[in-house]
Amino acid sequence: MKKLMYEEAIAEYQKAAAILRTYLPHLGCMYAVIGEREKALEILDELHSQSQHRYVSDYKIAMVYVCLGEKDKAFEYLDKAYENRDSGLHAVKVDPLLEILRSDPRFKAFLKKMGLE
C-alpha cells in the first residue's frame, strides 16, 4: 500500500519536474526512498551538471543525500546552503524529511548556527 502511494508520488513529481526543474530533487528523493538508488544518483548527477550554469538549491541536494542515507554528504550540502543563504534552509528545524539527521550532534550545532536553537 505504502509502495503504491510512493509510486503515485513519483508520478506526480515527474509531472511537476517536467514543468518546473526545481522539483527534480524531490523526484530524486522519492527514487531514493523506494530503493531506486541508480535513478536517484542519476538525478543528483543531473543536478550537479545543472548547477554549472544556473543556481541549484544546495538545501535540496542535501535533501536527496538524506533520502539516500548519506549523512556526511547531507551535512556538507547543508553547510553550502548556509553559505549561499539558500531559501529552503529557513525550514531546516521543522522539515520532516531531515528526520534522520536530528539525532546527529552536527544537526544541533547547525541549528545553533542558524539561531534556531
Binding site: 526545481t22 543556481y55 538549491s57 543563504r85 531559501s87 534552509l89 525550514a91 528545524k93
Partner: protein, 672 residues
C-alpha cells in the same frame, strides 16, 4: 540695406544678428533679399497694438508671419484670456474651397488635445477678413532657439524630439497629419516643453490656385521626398520632417539646402544626407542612426509610427549620462491661488478603489486555487466626465462649465489604458439629477468625474470629484479657487492636474497586473511581474508599492531557486528599503523586509518585529499574515502558525480595496 526686426520693426544694420532694440534674433540679410524658400508675401490687413478686432480681441503684439498670414497675440475680452489670432491673407481667403477645406481640417485639428500640441480653437470671419484663433503659447520657436544658441546638446534635442513625437502620436491617432512640421512651428514654452503649432493648416492651403500664384506652404528644407513629388503625405512624412528637425537641432544645419526650392527638393529625393556625426562628433551613434532612418527616401524604410521613434529616443535618453539628460520641468499642478494641493502618493490608496474589477479578477483567481483566470491585462479602468454644474447665483458660467468638462474629456482620452465615453454620451446627463449608479450603468463606466463651478465676483470656486460608481462614494475630491482671468489657462491647469492624478490609476493598474504575474510564482511570471512594477515606476518614480512588488519578486526568484540569494536578495533588499524610505507607514514594505530578514538573514527576531509592524499598520494585508504564519511554522510554533494562516485566509476573503482605502484614510487629509 538694413534689416527690420520682425518683432519690434526697428531698423538694424545689415550685419546685425540681433535687434538693437529688443534683442530678437534677426534674419540674415541674405535671407531677406534672396531667400528662395521664403513664403511670398502679399499685402494683408494689419492690426495695430491696442486696437480691438472683431469686437473682442484686443491686439497685444504681432508675433510673426506665417504662410497663411500674420499672427497676433491678443486678449480675448469675451473669455478674458490671451489667445493667438492668425489673419488669413485675403488671396487665400478668397478661395472658398480653401476656407471650406480649412474648416474641415480644423474640425479634426481641434480634437487634438495634448500637452505638446498648441490647441486650435476657431475659424471666423470679420468684415470679410478670415481669422483663426488658437492657444497662445508664451516662449520661443525652436528655429529662433537654434539660431540663437546653435546646435543643441544631445539631451535637450532628444527631449524636444520626444515631446514632438508625443504630440504627433496623438495627432496621428486622430488621423491628422501635420504636413508642414518645421522648427518655426514648434514653440518651446517657458517650462522648456515643446508645443507643435499650426495643425491642419498646410493641407487646407495646398491647392492649385495657391501654388499657381507662387505662395508656398511648407518649407522645402523640411519637406519629405513624397511631398516634393506632390504625393499625398501621411504620418511617415511627418516622421521625415522630424528627422530633419532632429538633424538641425544636433548639427545646427539642415541636411539639404540650396539656392532654389527645386534644388532642395531634388536633394530630398536623391541625395544621401551626410552622417550627422561627421558634423558633430558628440552625437551618439544610435541617435545618428535614428535620424538617418527618419530621413530614408522611401517611407517604407522609415519608422512607421512616431511611437517607434519615441521608444528609440527614450532608449537613447536612458543611455545618456545623467548630466546630459533634460529633466522635464513640469507645469506645477497647483499654483499659489489653488487652496488645496494634490499629493499623488497620498491619493494612491483612494484611487486604488477604481481598479476594483481588476482586483476582483485577481482575487477570484487566487481564491480558486490558481485556476486560470482572465489576466487583468485586458481590463481598462473607465471614467465618464459629466458636464460641470453651474452653482453661480446668476447661472452665467455654463460656457466655462461645459468647456472644462470638454477639456477634461479630451485630456483623459489621451491617457492610455483609460476608457472615456465621448462628450455626446456624457453630456446627455446635463441638467439631470446625478444618480451615479444609473450613469455608471448607462455609460458602462466604473467611475464618474463630476464637478461644480461657483462664481462670486471675479472669483471662481471649482469642485472636482471622482466618484466610484459601485458605491457612490468619492474616491477623491479637490477644490480650486481662482480668479477668473484666463479661462483657457485655467481649463488647462485643472485638467492637467486631474489627468496627472489619474495617471496613478495607470500606475496602479500596472502594479495589479504585476502582482497577478507574481502570484503565478513561475520564473517567467516573476520576471514579467518585475517588468510591470518597473513600468509603474516609470509613471511614478516614487511609487512605494511598486518597489514592494519588485522586492517580493526578487525574494520569490530566490525562494523558488530560480536565482541564488546572492544574485537576487541585494536587489530585493534595496527595493524594500526604497519603499520604506518613500512611505514609512506602508505595511507591504515591512512585509517585504520581514520576509528577507527571515529567509535570507536568518534574523528571526527582526523578522517577527517587522511582520508585527506590518500587521499593526494594515491588519487586512493577507501576505503579512501568510508569511508571518510561515515564520511561526519554521520556528516550531505551529499553533500560532495555524492562527496566522487562518487570519491570512480571512483577510483574503475580506480583502477589498475599498477596505484598504478606509484603512489608509487615516493617513490622508480627509477627516474621518
Amino acid at each position: 540695406m538694413g534689416i527690420k526686426c520682425p518683432k519690434c520693426h526697428t531698423d538694424n544694420p545689415s550685419d546685425s544678428r540681433y535687434c538693437r532694440q529688443c534683442a530678437a534674433p534677426l534674419p540674415s540679410s541674405e535671407d531677406i533679399s534672396a531667400s528662395p524658400t521664403k513664403t511670398v508675401e502679399t499685402p494683408t490687413e494689419e492690426l495695430t497694438r491696442g486696437t480691438t478686432f472683431a469686437g473682442r480681441y484686443e491686439i497685444i503684439e504681432e508675433l510673426g508671419k506665417g504662410g497663411m498670414g500674420k499672427v497676433y497675440r491678443v486678449f480675448d475680452k469675451k473669455i478674458e484670456g490671451e489667445v493667438a489670432l492668425k489673419l488669413v491673407k485675403p488671396e487665400i481667403a478668397a478661395d472658398k474651397k480653401i476656407i471650406e477645406r480649412f474648416r474641415n481640417e480644423l474640425k479634426l485639428a481641434r480634437e487634438i488635445a495634448h500637452r505638446n500640441v498648441c490647441r486650435m480653437y476657431d475659424l471666423n470671419e470679420e468684415k470679410g477678413i478670415h481669422y483663426i484663433t488658437m492657444e497662445y503659447v508664451a516662449g520661443e520657436d525652436l528655429k529662433s532657439t537654434i539660431n540663437r544658441v546653435g546646435p543643441l546638446g544631445t539631451g535637450k534635442a532628444v527631449f524636444i524630439a520626444r515631446q514632438v513625437c508625443d504630440g504627433l502620436t496623438e495627432a496621428h491617432r486622430l488621423g491628422v497629419v501635420h504636413r508642414d512640421l518645421k522648427p518655426q512651428n514648434i514653440m518651446i514654452d517657458k517650462e522648456g516643453n515643446a508645443r507643435i503649432m499650426d495643425f491642419g493648416i498646410a493641407r487646407s492651403v495646398k491647392g492649385k490656385g495657391i501654388t499657381g500664384s507662387g505662395v508656398r506652404i511648407g518649407t522645402p528644407e523640411y519637406m519629405s521626398p513624397e511631398q516634393v513629388e506632390g504625393k499625398e503625405a501621411d504620418q511617415r512624412s511627418d516622421i521625415y520632417s522630424l528627422g530633419v528637425i532632429l538633424y538641425e537641432m544636433v548639427t545646427g544645419r539642415v541636411p539639404f539646402d540650396g539656392d532654389t526650392p527645386f534644388t532642395i527638393g531634388i536633394k530630398h529625393k536623391s541625395e544621401i544626407p551626410q552622417d550627422p556625426r561627421e558634423l558633430n562628433s558628440q552625437i551618439p551613434e544610435d541617435l545618428s542612426r535614428v535620424i538617418l532612418k527618419c530621413l530614408e527616401k522611401e517611407r517604407e524604410k522609415r519608422y512607421q509610427s512616431t511611437a517607434e521613434v519615441r521608444s528609440e529616443l527614450i532608449h537613447i535618453e536612458k543611455g545618456l549620462p545623467t548630466t546630459d539628460r533634460v529633466i522635464p520641468s513640469r507645469k506645477p499642478a497647483t499654483s499659489k491661488e489653488i487652496t488645496v494641493t494634490f499629493n499623488i502618493k497620498k491619493l494612491l490608496f483612494p484611487v486604488v478603489a477604481v481598479a476594483a474589477v481588476i482586483v476582483a479578477v485577481v482575487l477570484v483567481w487566487q481564491l480558486t486555487l490558481k485556476k486560470e483566470a482572465v489576466p487583468a491585462v485586458s481590463e481598462k479602468p473607465s471614467i465618464a466626465v459629466l458636464p460641470f454644474e453651474d452653482l453661480s447665483p446668476d447661472k452665467d458660467q455654463e460656457y466655462f462649465c461645459d468647456g472644462l468638462a470638454e477639456e477634461l474629456i479630451n485630456r483623459l482620452t489621451n491617457v492610455e489604458k483609460l476608457r472615456v465615453p465621448a462628450r455626446a454620451s456624457a453630456f446627455s446627463f446635463k441638467g439631470k439629477e446625478r444618480d451615479f449608479q444609473e450613469i455608471g450603468e448607462k455609460l458602462s463606466v466604473e467611475m464618474v468625474l463630476d464637478g461644480s463651478v461657483r462664481k462670486a465676483g471675479n472669483r471662481l470656486r471649482i469642485n472636482v470629484q471622482l466618484v466610484n460608481v459601485a458605491d457612490g462614494f468619492p474616491i477623491w475630491s479637490e477644490r480650486y479657487e481662482r480668479n477668473l482671468e484666463d479661462t483657457f489657462a485655467l481649463w488647462d491647469e485643472i485638467s492637467l492636474a486631474v489627468v496627472d492624478n489619474l495617471k496613478i490609476v495607470e500606475a496602479y493598474n500596472l502594479y495589479v497586473q504585476g502582482r497577478y504575474f507574481w502570484n503565478r510564482r513561475t520564473e517567467d511570471g516573476l520576471n514579467k511581474a518585475i517588468d510591470y512594477f518597473e513600468q509603474a515606476l516609470e509613471l511614478d518614480p516614487d511609487y512605494a508599492l511598486a518597489y514592494t512588488g519588485i522586492a517580493d519578486a526578487y525574494s520569490m526568484l530566490s525562494g523558488y531557486n530560480f536565482l541564488s540569494a546572492h544574485e537576487s536578495i541585494p536587489k530585493a533588499k534595496t527595493a524594500a528599503l526604497k519603499a520604506l524610505e518613500i512611505d514609512k507607514t506602508l505595511a507591504e514594505a515591512y512585509t517585504s523586509l520581514a520576509h528577507i530578514k527571515e529567509r535570507y538573514d536568518f534574523d528571526w527576531l527582526g523578522s517577527e518585529e517587522y511582520y508585527k509592524r506590518a500587521i499593526e499598520l494594515n491588519p487586512n494585508y493577507p501576505l503579512a499574515h501568510h508569511w508571518y504564519g510561515g515564520l511561526f511554522r519554521v520556528t516550531g510554533r505551529f499553533k500560532k502558525a495555524y492562527e496566522e494562516l487562518t487570519k491570512a485566509l480571512d483577510a483574503k476573503k475580506l480583502w477589498s480595496w475599498l477596505q484598504i482605502t478606509a484603512g489608509h484614510m487615516k493617513s490622508l487629509r480627509w477627516p474621518i
